[in-house]
Symmetry: C2
Subunit: 198 residues, 2 copies
């Protein structure tokens, strides 16, 4: 054995992270070995702190530190709209657009019968409970534009529309700045189908 | 603010690591948020442990956990050979070849007058002290094949040869499995110069 045991252990731990191969793990570990002790400690405690303080928001199932997540706790947000997403990380993507000021609901995945994920495995019941009052006027179904996401959106729309709530879906079409020539046929077909009046 | 404070802190810490951009940091942080608490704790404690237990080997300046590093402590290794490298990570690269069974000496860098790195900033004095006995028969200068590495090798060879110790340098030439067509002219020139009899 030519490698220090604790270095090998740290290498193994970093290699378990997504997107980190043996070379990247090695680079990071040598960086940490050279780093000031305070820098390394700060990373370690940030990991511990996140696991200790972050939990799911009991209302929308986003990650939260306080009672509610930062978005649910923000009284400035428009409570008449709920944007339904699969995962908490999707919230970050929508927030970065700056186009949406309503609330969210995280399903915790998408319907996938083959993987044993039905409505009971998602937070569908909790979503319907949130819609039981008359505050919500629109639900945007922002699940991913793939088979599972579409299935989930269609399933939810069938449950929500009868409640008299406007139910919408994110537009599919050509990516802005994209090249028509390189668009796949499904996306291009969808873009033609959903063409807008100018 | 739509992001939890401790999540943002962890994102910042991961982004400081080499080779980790905002997207990779986000992927890792969401992975950690989903991971079992024990998995996250193991990573955090591995970081703390490495910084607490790993220090420089007083003999060869490799990373060590015990009194000496694993290689210096291994009595099976050939103490008549010392391979001089710039950084501890270079030892890993040489060990993986399985071609070398001697000891090492880590310089802690390479000569670079412009950056203010002279022999005093490296472990040159300690290397010469190790060569003072009559145990060492060969020193392999395995500094990098770039300007600083070559300068360092030439400088060390001038100090070591007068001691009557065989002083060698790693061969330069075409990478195995490489393509002659794509070799840079310096490497190809070196390969012709150092051609072997078949």
């Amino acid at each position: 054995m030519t490698q220090s045991l604790s270095i090998q252990k740290l290498l193994d731990e970093f290699e378990r992270l997504p997107g980190i191969g043996p070379k990247s793990a090695q680079r990071i570990v040598y960086w940490l070995l050279n780093a000031a002790p305070a820098d390394a400690t700060r990373l370690a405690s940030a990991i511990v702190e996140v696991k200790e303080t972050v939990h799911f928001c009991p209302r929308c199932f986003n990650y939260a530190e306080g009672d509610l997540c930062a978005i649910c706790a923000d009284t400035e947000r428009d409570a008449s709209m709920i944007c339904v997403v699969s995962e908490p990380r999707d919230i970050g993507a929508i927030e970065r657009t700056g186009e949406y000021r309503g609330l969210y609901h995280v399903l915790g995945g998408a319907l996938s019968p083959l993987d044993g994920i039905g409505p009971e495995q998602l937070t569908v019941r909790e979503l319907l409970e949130r819609l039981a009052g008359d505050e919500v006027e629109e639900v945007i179904l922002a699940t991913n534009p793939n088979v599972e996401g579409e299935t989930t959106a269609v399933y939810l729309a069938r449950l929500i529309k009868p409640l008299g709530i406007r139910t919408t879906r994110l537009a599919s079409g050509l990516p802005v700045g994209g090249d028509l020539e390189f668009a796949d046929e499904v996306t291009l077909g969808r873009a033609i189908e959903s063409r807008r009046e100018l």
